[in-house]
Point group: C2
Chain length 557, copies 2
């Protein structure tokens, strides 16, 4: 063990953070530990004395949970691996995004100060905080009116989840917090600040969430002024313009942190990064034309290309945003595993639940087993996978789910299969849209919870898209991706690597088992996809806005 | 009791027959008895030595079950009521239709003869025998090609369930049976023959099922010849042209039958009739503009008008077919209660089943209770009620169910409500189509299983259609309707009535409780119905035939 080097990847998720200690030489995962945030997702009352949040679409977090996570996991990993700590050459983190907060000039979060403790806007706004929709609408209207050139890079629409709508909501609703904030900062960058003692800003969140690009920088001052005169200088007064590329060394671990975590001071701390994006090289992908899909409750699709293209409904295109030297494209489906979970929760009869219990398998597995007996088209069912709206390519949260083809003999497993197929059609639509707009998708790599345990789903995705699906070797792809970036931040001289390509070649891998499309099934699915596509446009592109009108009627008293 | 008079109504259903003994003076139901057919619906093997049926869409019956039903029920009713039998002034029956069979000149069913016992085509073809679809297609194509004027009276399409397609199937597949059949006869008329000793043909089945009309008679010989030269003289060789109006006296009860049943010989036997149609006067309806809905697994809609109109998708219009002097229109929804039963069987989670069990209520009642908490539009869901195709107004068995508006929080009771609403929209579409084509629907009367026990459903129907729903007093509306026709066949001189109007005025009634539309709910539903209507036409009238294409793909190997 003496001459081996290790890297630490910390994956900050929505409910918990995971540390993964990885052997730099071969990517072997030697120890892992998870910390469940003590204050979790704050959606009703603040952790102070129980201050009620203003509305149900708020989602906050406690920044102290991020620090507690480090102390609760890193020493455990070291102990489990039997390491003293000085074999670790670097740390990198990945975070949900845009997850942001207001802080003092020294990095102190406002919510930790007594005078702001009961102020909701002083806390961390989690990625899924959806209360800034009015501000997002204003950003979009203003950008369209002023013909801002960057709007197209984001599929024509800035999400309420992103950075400037969240900042603007603070200004609108809590100007005192806005004024007191010396910095508005991504949690991804704040945690690096805490580790390295240095304020930096990473390229990935800047590009995908804060409308920054390598060639054009941030939006112009006039645009921000048009949103609100007090907002005109948000970039120069509340942010820093220096942007670190991914895998860059943000600084060295501080003495104080080193002592708290049992590591050596000065080891490399990588620039911040985003959970989905670090997974790409962890799937072995370092070049263009290879899509990485993170498949779980939702799906995030990432692919790199050699030039900037404006693809309808993409979440964003950022130069160097995923891999250096390439344009990183991101798209997504806002609910996938979530729809299957809804189905199991809502639409499965008692007889199925007891059969699954008797056989000691999950209801999911029972349904998948029964659904696997059908060939493509045999159910006669077709669904639109919009139970949580449509992120790509329609970018429309007001769309809803649809299923047709039911008859008096339709069985639960047929509907379950139809829902899986619908999500596969959703992915296929994204792939085809990329290709139609000049972004090649030649190979597909997967990671996340779904590919781990759902053969039927993976085969359907392969058959629908007509492509081979490869699966990342690691079950902790995000944390592994961070560890790889830590090795790159440390550099070859310190026992790491000089490029993410080198790191991927040594530390990442895919499994032997892949899913290959069956030619006949693909041909059958092509016919059904044509039906999906027609209904996609009919319901999704304004021919019949019935879903939106029904949604509007829900609120009418 | 000495001077009281009673009438017997026998309702021949799909699985059983019910006898109802009714006081002619006031419609009081003094006794009832049910006979479950010993051979039920024959759909796999003949009751002989187990001969296998040729296909799964066959549905046969045993005519001896019809006779056994008389002997098993009528004496029981007399005993229960404490009558000797000579107080009964007449018998009338109603039957499923078209339910038909081949018989000898003396009325002997071919299937009772040893040489035909193992021949499926010798048995009774039940209304839901669907194996004559190729013959129905031939009837429709030939009629269109030859521009037969009667086709429009049947919504432009003759069903495979009806009389001539079934006859033609016998000719196609069992010419020996066709040749041996001196008569091809409705079971509705055969049972009257058995009771009265006289072969008659009733106007209702002749009109609705055998393409007969008072003004034009049966289709011309050339048409039958075009179907098959051997079929040219089917009417003159296998049927009788004399048609008895409803409520007419077909004859008197034979000595032999009187002895078997414990009744007086010679009492009035009414002309045959159909289950749905006899229910109309039993709901007190004897005039135009009053729709009667028989609501159960499916819905049958009947309304009378003062002139012949061709309404798209009507099952048929027959002069005097429901009430004398009026044109009787029939339409229908092919699945209603059946869809609710499918939902409860297929889409309700274990927690609901156990909650219902705990509270000792049905899952239907639990869902209805939860669904009642929503106001119109609040679920955001919309369905098309085509789980068993669409009978009226589209006449298309290949259409399928659809639901949209689902999101991750959608609950089972919301989908249940959406399905109820969809069937109400289906009824509203039928009502509006009648009205748009000159057939008034001013009032609505209901009977059948659904109105008995489903407040929520009745209120939704009332709110959707904007009409008051009245409910028949009797829970046995068909059998009561038959008893009323028995009283008319007996006539006023024998203690009955001379017209069905007189009988209805005395023997029929509606309940005090009615369902009245809520104005706001109706206004809300009008908006949602507009959405239903648009999707009805989009999926049902050829704009997007996705349902049919998907159904076709099911069969592709």
């Amino acid at each position: 063990m003496a001459d081996r080097k290790f890297a630490l990847g910390i994956d900050y998720g929505t409910e918990s953070a995971r540390a993964l200690l990885v052997d730099v030489a071969d990517g072997r995962e030697v120890a892992t530990a998870v910390y469940q945030y003590s204050n979790g997702v704050v959606s009703e009352r603040l952790p102070d004395a129980g201050t009620q949040l203003p509305a149900h679409d708020w989602a906050l977090q406690d920044p102290e949970d991020y620090l507690r996570a480090l102390e609760a996991t890193i020493p455990v990993c070291l102990k489990e691996a039997g390491l003293k700590g000085d074999e670790v050459i670097g740390i990198a983190t990945d975070f949900t995004a845009c997850t942001m907060m207001p802080v003092r000039r020294d990095g102190t979060p406002l919510c930790t100060l007594p005078e702001f403790r009961a102020e909701p806007h002083a806390w961390v706004k989690l990625w899924k905080h959806h209360a800034a929709q009015p501000e997002a609408d204003r950003v979009n209207e203003t950008a369209r009116r002023m013909k801002e050139p960057w709007l197209e890079r984001y599929g024509g629409r800035i999400s309420s989840e992103w950075f400037f709508p969240k900042c603007l909501q603070i200004l609108d609703e809590a100007p005192r917090v806005y004024d007191a904030a010396d910095r508005l900062i991504e949690a991804a960058d704040w945690i690096i600040w805490q580790l390295s003692g240095r304020e930096t800003r990473n390229l990935c969140t800047a590009g995908y969430k804060a409308i920054w690009s390598k060639r054009e920088g941030f939006p112009r001052r006039e645009f921000f002024a048009a949103l609100d005169p007090r907002f005109a200088d948000v970039v120069d007064k509340k942010m820093i313009r220096e942007i670190l590329p991914l895998g860059a060394r943000a600084g060295g671990l501080t003495e104080q942190m080193a002592a708290r975590l049992g590591l050596k001071a000065g080891i490399a701390i990588a620039a911040g990064n985003v959970d989905a994006h670090v997974a790409v090289p962890a799937c072995t992908v370092t070049g263009p034309g290879k899509m990485v899909m993170i498949m779980g409750t939702s799906i995030c699709h990432m692919v790199c290309g050699t030039g900037e293209k404006n693809v309808p409904g993409q979440c964003g295109v950022v130069e160097d945003g995923i891999l250096p030297g390439l344009f990183g494209f991101e798209a997504g489906q806002s609910a996938v595993g979530d729809i299957f979970a809804w189905f199991v929760r809502t639409c499965v009869p008692a007889a199925y639940e007891s059969a699954a219990k008797r056989r000691k398998i999950s209801v999911h597995d029972l349904l998948a087993e029964k659904a696997a007996a059908y060939r493509p088209g045999q159910t006669g069912l077709l669904a639109l996978d919009w139970w949580n709206g449509n992120r790509s390519v329609l970018v429309d949260a007001d769309l809803t789910g649809m299923m047709l083809g039911m008859h008096l003999g339709t069985r639960p497993e047929e509907m379950y299969r139809a829902i899986i197929e619908a999500t596969a059609f959703g992915t296929y639509k994204i792939i085809r849209t990329f290709e139609q707009h000049g972004v090649a998708v030649d190979e597909i790599y997967c990671c996340g919870g779904l590919p781990e345990r759902n053969d039927l789903l993976m085969q359907i995705y392969s058959d629908v898209t007509g492509r081979e699906f490869k699966i990342a070797r690691s079950a902790q792809t995000c944390a592994l991706g961070s560890a790889m970036h830590a090795a790159v931040a440390a550099g070859a001289k310190a026992g790491g690597y000089d490029t993410i390509h080198d790191a991927a070649a040594r530390m990442a891998g895919v499994r032997d088992k892949t899913y290959r499309p069956d030619r006949e099934s693909h041909a059958a699915y092509d016919k059904i996809f044509a039906e999906y596509d027609a209904l996609h446009d009919y319901f999704g592109r304004g021919t019949n806005d019935v879903m939106k009108r029904l949604k509007a009627l829900k609120g009418v008293q």
